[in-house]
């Protein structure tokens, strides 16, 4: 049994290629919309500097406080910065921060989940009870506490995402590991004397992947929201970063006069979070719903 693929229970088998995932995502209108939105924002994040008509922090004093117009599509803020350019350039900021943070959270969650589920016993208890204690705190509260200790910086926000989401990912991974580790192919690998590393990552991990992909995409959308929320509370990234949450916070005190400076970044947060959520929902149906056989 060198290839675990053939020995996998059928309900855990992921679609064969990325193309088929995309095709299935686009088969349903809601997930098609979500995926389109997500891809559009990814495009913005990549090409933002080419599309933005003004520099990120360019302050044109004479144009300050202007309503949306042909020169400034989303208007300007109180310091004469082009809101359209900042919203576009903010896409990269928020997607990379929450994307990288989610990736790290998934990596560490997978590691802890595999170890905890596979070993069981006291180690499992220790890890899981510690994670439970982390989960007992609301995510935002935990994030604020951590940021208070770490100090406001981009790296701190990243650490916050990892700490807040690792337990959740670990729990999901662990639950799958628990159901898989007694299966014959794992037993077989163990009897064959394969290394622990190989058993965990080559035999067990593939079974975890579908659930993990869904969890990761959900975490990603929550991470976007968390990053924006922290920006809004003024404890995450520092100005003049184009973090949408921070832009909303800065625009808040001018809302009666410059509502556009608030509505556009707030709308961007809403749209991207909804988009990623719809996509995550679609992924769930593709990877789990369609094949679980219920």
């Amino acid at each position: 049994m060198t290839s675990n693929g053939s020995s996998l229970p059928t309900q855990l088998s992921p679609p064969s290629s990325r193309r088929s995932i995309l095709r299935e995502l686009f088969a349903r209108p809601a997930s098609a919309l979500g995926t389109t939105i997500f891809l559009l924002f990814v495009l913005l994040a990549i090409c933002g500097p080419l599309l933005a008509p003004y520099e990120l922090n360019q302050q044109i004093y004479s144009d300050a406080r202007q309503a949306p117009s042909a020169t400034h599509w989303f208007g300007t803020d109180n310091l004469g910065r082009d809101v359209f350019s900042r919203v576009i350039l903010g896409a990269r900021d928020i997607l990379t921060l929450s994307g990288l943070g989610t990736l790290l959270a998934v990596l560490s969650g997978v590691t802890f989940g595999l170890i905890s589920g596979y070993y069981g016993g006291l180690l499992d208890e220790l890890i899981m009870r510690f994670f439970d204690s982390l989960l007992a705190m609301p995510a935002l509260l935990l994030a604020l506490l951590l940021l208070g200790i770490l100090g406001p910086a981009v790296s701190s926000v990243m650490i916050v995402i990892v700490v807040v989401y690792t337990p959740i990912v670990a729990r999901v991974v662990r639950s799958v590991v628990l159901s898989v580790k007694t299966k014959a192919f794992v037993e077989a690998a163990r009897i064959q004397g394969e290394s622990l590393w190989r058993i965990l990552f080559r035999e067990i991990l593939p079974s975890v992947l579908p659930a993990l992909a869904v969890e990761a995409s959900l975490r990603f959308s929550y991470a976007i929201f968390l990053v924006a929320s922290l920006g809004f509370l003024g404890v995450g990234v520092q100005p003049p970063s184009p973090n949408w949450g921070l832009m909303v916070n800065e625009a808040r005190q001018h809302v009666s006069q410059l509502p556009w400076a608030l509505y556009f970044p707030a709308g961007a947060i809403a749209i991207v979070v909804i988009g990623v959520n719809l996509m995550a929902d679609g992924l769930k149906r593709v990877w789990q719903g369609g094949t679980v056989g219920k």
Binding site: L79, L144, L147, P152, G234, P239, P240, Q253, H254, Q257
Partner: protein, 542 residues
């Protein structure tokens, strides 16, 4: 290195605590508090240990001469003991429950309050005050000179308070009659009357034990109830010693964490007066029916300061380059929307007409000259000057920081911003340690205050760590000479000196805003909003 990391850890622990507080506040209010132009002149006191209580006194039917209740929006109070007050709301509360011995009017002149008059000896060392007659405490007992002596002894003898420093020059306080008090000074102090009118110097009853929970004043209003985080309800003092005052039947201080919410409440008629608001909010009220808006110039300012006792600020060319790279007119127009006045890098602003030198102006913006100075100091494109600009998140300070970052970038200076909640910025005195910071300083009736606490060597809040013997001598002269011409000259020289090599940039002096319902008459806004006097406000509505 070890000390550094310990300090950092303490700072972060403090941050954590402050953030927990922030969360609590966020949970209580829909939105977090922000913004105003008016900070306490003393940096915010983040001590929250004072106990909050509710005090009930007997409600009395207001007499016919008192009419209407003024509802004022203010930020929540933390300290109510006059010795520890600092914010607008705390001072406003105390200013109406108690009386100052000497008050300061809207034109910054010392005026009688509990003191009906005074005489000053020729050597400027002995001040004798005659006290007003017919003054009674809210509990009915009579006011006497002993109360004044007790109050000022407490203020000057309580360790670790701002007033202990302020009144260190007092040699003796004595009741020289039932209604006469004599202060003897060690050295002449031409500003002593202003010092006596310090925000904390409200007269308490002799032997008051807990001034943070019992409010037995002589002032125009009596406390009916205090509900923490909600409001303070006060009623007119029927036996106030000044006839016909107060004109109102009652006063309510209603707490708002959020200025936007306060202004909405003003629009909706739930409050009658607001004195803390951003420029944007103030502008949005301009065409509002039924509301009168007032803006007055103040000497309050946002101070940008660079530590001068270590690199890079110990090279005078660096601060000079930053001054040259700063466009003050643009800052006033963009950050303050034109309200207030352009600053000249000295705390002696145009409001102090006699002492302000209109000809002392910082050099006009010259980015190339700034670059040249920086190059001479060893900073160029391959080795740019990099600094973190620390700033509290209140008022227009984050905007000021964002604008400075861009303006200085043109001269090749790379600035990182660190915007922190105000309680974190001032917590643990971290603001006194950082290299580059923005601090809000509230308006004061006389300029010597700023020099004494902010700029003389080893001053308590010498955030720029400025140590200049020439400056110290000038400040000493200005603060002690009884010769007015010599004082004016000293202040003029100080302005020149600060423009030449002072460690501070003062880009603007801000305006104080107020907005009041049309149903009230006789409102005079003061530069320090907390000292605004409601005794003469009358209700004209139905």
């Amino acid at each position: 290195m070890k000390i550094f990391s310990e300090t950092t850890f303490r700072l972060h622990k403090k941050r954590a605590v402050s953030l927990l507080l922030l969360i609590t506040i966020l949970a209580l209010a829909a939105c977090g508090g922000t913004t105003t132009n008016n900070t306490p002149a003393a940096p915010a006191n983040t001590d929250t240990s004072s106990t909050n209580t509710t005090t009930e006194t007997n409600m009395e039917e207001p007499a016919m001469s008192h009419k209407g209740v003024l509802r004022v929006a203010m930020q929540p109070v933390v300290n109510l003991d006059p010795i520890a007050i600092s914010s607008d709301s705390e001072v406003l509360f105390a200013n109406h429950v108690y009386d100052y011995l000497v008050d300061v009017d809207a034109q910054s002149n010392p005026v009688p309050r509990l003191a009906s008059g005074w005489t000053i000896s020729d050597d400027g060392l002995t001040y004798t005050f005659q006290l007003a007659e017919g003054v009674t405490w809210h509990d009915g007992s009579a006011f006497s000179a002993a109360d004044v002596v007790w109050t000022f002894n407490r203020l000057r003898q309580t360790e670790g308070t701002a007033t202990a420093d302020l009144y260190a020059n007092i040699a003796n306080i004595e009741a020289t009659g039932d209604l006469e008090v004599t202060f003897t000074l060690t050295n002449p102090n031409p500003f002593f009357l202003y010092d006596l009118s310090d925000n904390h110097a409200l007269v308490l009853k002799d032997g008051t034990e807990d001034a943070s929970t019992t409010f037995n004043g002589t002032g125009p209003f009596k406390v009916v109830s205090y509900t923490p985080e909600d409001r303070i309800v006060m009623e007119a003092n029927e036996t106030y010693f000044i006839p016909e005052q107060p004109k109102l039947a009652g006063l309510e201080i209603i707490f708002f964490n959020d200025d936007t919410a306060a202004i909405e409440a003003l629009r909706g008629g739930q409050i009658d007066l607001a004195m803390r608001m951003s420029t944007s909010l103030f502008q949005s009220l301009q065409e509002e029916a039924g509301i009168t808006t007032i803006d007055i110039p103040t000497n309050g300012f946002d101070l940008v300061r660079l530590r001068s006792d270590r690199a890079p600020g110990n090279d005078p060319r660096v601060i000079q380059a930053l001054k040259l790279a700063t466009d003050r007119d643009a800052i006033l127009n963009v950050v303050q929307q034109g309200y207030g006045a352009v600053g000249n890098d000295s705390p002696i602003g145009p409001l102090y007409e006699a002492y302000h030198n209109p000809d002392a102006q910082p050099p006009a913006r010259d980015v190339e000259a700034a670059r040249a100075l920086l190059a001479a100091a060893g900073y160029d494109e391959s080795n740019p000057l990099q600094l973190t600009l620390h700033t509290p998140d209140t008022g227009n300070r984050p905007d000021l920081a964002a604008v400075l970052k861009e303006q200085w970038a043109e001269a090749g200076v790379e600035i990182e911003l660190s915007v922190e909640p105000e309680s974190v910025y001032y917590g643990d005195d971290g603001w006194l340690e950082v290299d580059l910071g923005i601090t809000g300083w509230g308006s004061r009736p006389y300029p010597q205050f700023y020099l004494d606490v902010m700029l003389i060597t080893d001053a308590k809040w010498n955030e720029s760590h400025f140590a200049d013997t020439e400056f110290d001598e000038l400040a000493q002269t200005a603060g002690t000479t009884l010769d007015e011409a010599a004082r004016v000259q000293a202040y003029y020289n100080i302005q020149d000196l600060l423009i030449d090599h002072g460690p501070v940039i003062i880009p603007y002096y801000f305006a104080q805003f107020g907005a009041i319902s049309n149903q009230f008459d006789g409102f005079t806004l003061k530069a320090f909003a907390g000292r605004t006097d409601f005794r003469t406000i009358s209700y004209t509505g139905e």
